[in-house]
């Protein structure tokens, strides 16, 4: 197990290195593109461009350029966004907790509800409950997050805000947990729900399919032949093995969301997370920010996939190294 973990961590480092090189090459070594101009944001002065050229060693060989860039990102952490004239790293570091709060909360909700829905659908197969739940799930998958978020805002922020059910909803935006835990929670409830709807639908369907497939496995029949209760067969045998697929999907989705994939939800609810940061940097073509957020995103995605592998090995002894 130890070598397995070491191997995954080393692998993580290698992937991150590869991603950073790739990103770097795309932005700095694409023929016909002047990275200095790109970095300088809109309407730069000749002065700025010269500064940039010097600072990033753009007149020196590529490996040196790469090294300098990484130094600015990871060591001195003083990479500057010429668009907004702020330092990029602190900006990302302050956006990360917002995204993490959003995604963690949503993940808890979607795990709980998708398991419940998937289980209920599988258990009630052959009755109307199953197709009903699956249609609901399909609707959940099909609703555009952006639209759903706007509707939720319309209801909770304006139309029915006076109504006692929604009067507690604070205005859009984010309050750090350390500042006011209650407000943090209240402000995130609807973003959480909105973000999780799609995933509840998707995961419930996947889980149901898995449960039904596992139900036909020989070892489930063995469990029944042992005289185990239906409930135990379902939870300890069918569900337990179905979780293997579930977990691997979850890890990747989680990684993508933390890495900036929750962009739409963040935009609709005005949450200053990584997604929003990326969104702004994309619209203003702010190269340093784009590059850093891409590396940041890649970090979380590879980290998540490494964690998935570990959990996977924990869930499925067959893939455990001997």
């Amino acid at each position: 197990m130890a070598t397995f973990i070491v191997r995954r961590v080393l692998w993580l480092v290698v992937v991150l290195f590869a991603v950073s090189v790739l990103v770097f090459l795309i932005f700095f070594a694409t023929p016909g593109v002047d990275p200095a101009r790109q970095m300088a944001g809109r309407n730069p002065t000749a002065e700025t461009i010269k500064n940039i050229k010097h600072e990033f060693g753009l007149d020196r060989p590529l490996p040196v350029q790469y090294g300098l860039m990484m130094k600015h990102i990871f060591v001195s952490r003083d990479l500057i966004s010429y668009g907004s004239h702020t330092k990029v790293i602190p900006e990302i570091l302050s956006a990360a907790p917002v995204t993490l709060s959003l995604v963690f909360g949503a993940a808890v909700i979607w795990i709980v509800f998708s398991i419940l829905t998937g289980l209920a659908a599988a258990v009630f197969r052959g009755t109307v409950i199953d197709p009903l739940l699956m249609i609901l799930a399909l609707i959940g998958i099909s609703i555009p997050v952006f639209w759903l978020g706007e509707v939720v805002n319309l209801v909770t922020q304006s139309r029915l805000h006076g109504f006692f059910l929604f009067s507690w909803v604070p205005p859009l935006g984010y309050t750090p947990f350390t500042q006011d835990p209650l407000l943090w929670f209240e402000g995130l409830v609807f973003p959480w729900l909105t973000l999780s709807v799609l995933y509840i639908g998707f995961y419930a369907r996947v889980l149901r399919a898995n449960l039904i497939e596992t139900e036909n496995e020989d070892y489930v029949r063995t469990a029944r032949a042992k005289g185990i209760s239906e409930r135990r067969v379902l939870l300890r045998h069918t569900l337990r093995t179905s979780m293997i697929t579930f977990v691997s999907l979850f890890g990747l989705d989680f990684g993508v969301l933390v890495g900036g994939g929750a962009l739409l939800t963040e935009v609709v609810f005005g949450l200053p997370g990584v997604g929003l940061l990326t969104y702004h940097s994309l619209t203003s073509l702010d190269l340093p920010v784009i590059m850093t957020t891409v590396i940041y995103g890649a970090f979380f995605i590879t980290l998540a996939s490494a964690l998935v592998d570990l959990v996977y090995a924990w869930l499925d002894p067959r893939v455990r190294p001997a």
């Binding site: 052959g126 070892y219 063995t222 029944r224 042992k226 005289g227 135990r232 093995t241 002894p317 067959r318």
Partner: protein, 342 residues
């Protein structure tokens, strides 16, 4: 005589499907006495598994339709509650399956899986269940049981996994052990080991055994009585001597003739049973075996032969041929070389 351990009375099991009603088991009756070994023999699809799965009420397909009675120790299992049935499973009747590779849950250790059953049926302390599990593993011939108890199924070979399945099945001392093709997926050498093991355990545990197989050779040594099934029905039933030395049904002859036998001079050709089993949705008129039967005559097409005693005590068959005709003709199927020289 004492009442049989298991008595199946006119069991019919069908499945509703898109193409029509599949009559997988079509009115069969038989008994299993205490401590007896009964072999059920027939080709794939003849309804062997469905019959014994029905006894365990293990068929989960919602489209199943049952008729008939399954009396276990006088109690109709078709009518007992789900909870009562759970107590029967594992504790009274245990079952092992064909494919040892897929019959154990891959994510739990073999010890866990045996302990789970013990805990379900008995009030045991944690250490007790574990000790018993390891004893069982030793009993079925798994070397170093104290260590292997913490291994996962994939760490065992096919033969060893089947031993684990047997340990699991025997863990609550069942009175009836159903073994559904326990050796079909294994090498001949491992098959010999497993059959030997089942014989030993029957002696030690005294359980009755129902052994399902498609190979008459497998039951020759171990079974007391044999049921030959074809297309959802029993076509011949008798004790071992009767089935092997005085077989009455042309299907049984075919099964015997298909085996490449080591105890006989090499046959030039095996007498295979031509064609395939019939559709269970539209069963042929008359004898179901007629389309494949080299002996068939007019009456076979018109009239469905009933399973009745024709030759001796407890020896039943469902074939229209007269006993004399059968005795005169069967050697040409079972052992043509011997028949030629005779």
């Amino acid at each position: 005589m004492a009442e049989p351990l298991l008595e199946v009375r006119d069991l019919k099991v069908s499945f509703r499907t898109e193409d029509g009603i599949v009559r997988a088991v079509d009115g069969i009756s038989f008994t299993v006495d205490e401590g007896e070994v009964v072999g059920i023999v027939g080709e794939s699809g003849s309804g062997k598994s469905v019959t014994m799965m029905s006894v365990m009420r293990l068929i989960t397909d919602p489209n199943v339709i049952y008729q008939g009675e399954i009396l276990y120790k006088g109690r109709n299992l078709m009518q007992v509650s789900r909870d009562a049935m759970r107590e029967v499973r594992g504790e009274e009747i245990a079952m092992i399956f064909q494919d040892p590779m897929t019959s154990l849950n891959p994510v739990y250790t073999v010890g866990w899986q045996i302990e789970e059953q013990l805990n379900e049926h008995y009030d045991l302390k944690k250490g007790q269940a574990r000790r018993r599990a390891s004893e069982l593993l030793a009993q079925v011939g798994i070397p170093r049981p104290e260590q292997r108890i913490d291994d996962y199924p994939h760490q065992f070979s096919g033969g060893m996994r089947q031993r684990v399945m047997i340990a699991l099945a025997l863990s609550c001392n069942p009175d009836l052990l159903i073994a559904d093709e326990p050796t079909t997926a294994l090498d001949v050498t491992i098959q010999a080991q497993i059959l030997e093991l089942i014989k030993d355990l029957r002696r030690d545990f005294g359980s009755a055994v129902v052994l399902i197989t498609h190979d008459l050779g497998v039951v020759a040594d171990i079974a007391d009585r044999i049921l030959v099934m074809y297309a959802g029905r029993i076509v011949e039933e008798g004790n071992k001597e009767q089935i092997f030395y005085d077989p009455q049904h042309p299907y049984t002859w075919g099964l015997l003739g298909s085996i490449a036998r080591l105890d006989r001079p090499k046959a030039r050709r095996l007498t295979a049973i031509a064609g395939q089993p019939p559709s269970l949705i539209n069963r042929p008129k008359g004898c179901s075996f007629r389309p494949r039967c080299p002996q068939a005559f007019d009456r076979c097409r018109a009239e469905d032969p009933q399973l009745t005693v024709k030759v001796g005590d407890g020896h039943l068959d469902a074939c229209h041929l007269s006993v004399e005709d059968k005795r005169a003709r069967r050697d040409a199927t079972i052992s043509p070389e011997l028949a030629d020289t005779a």
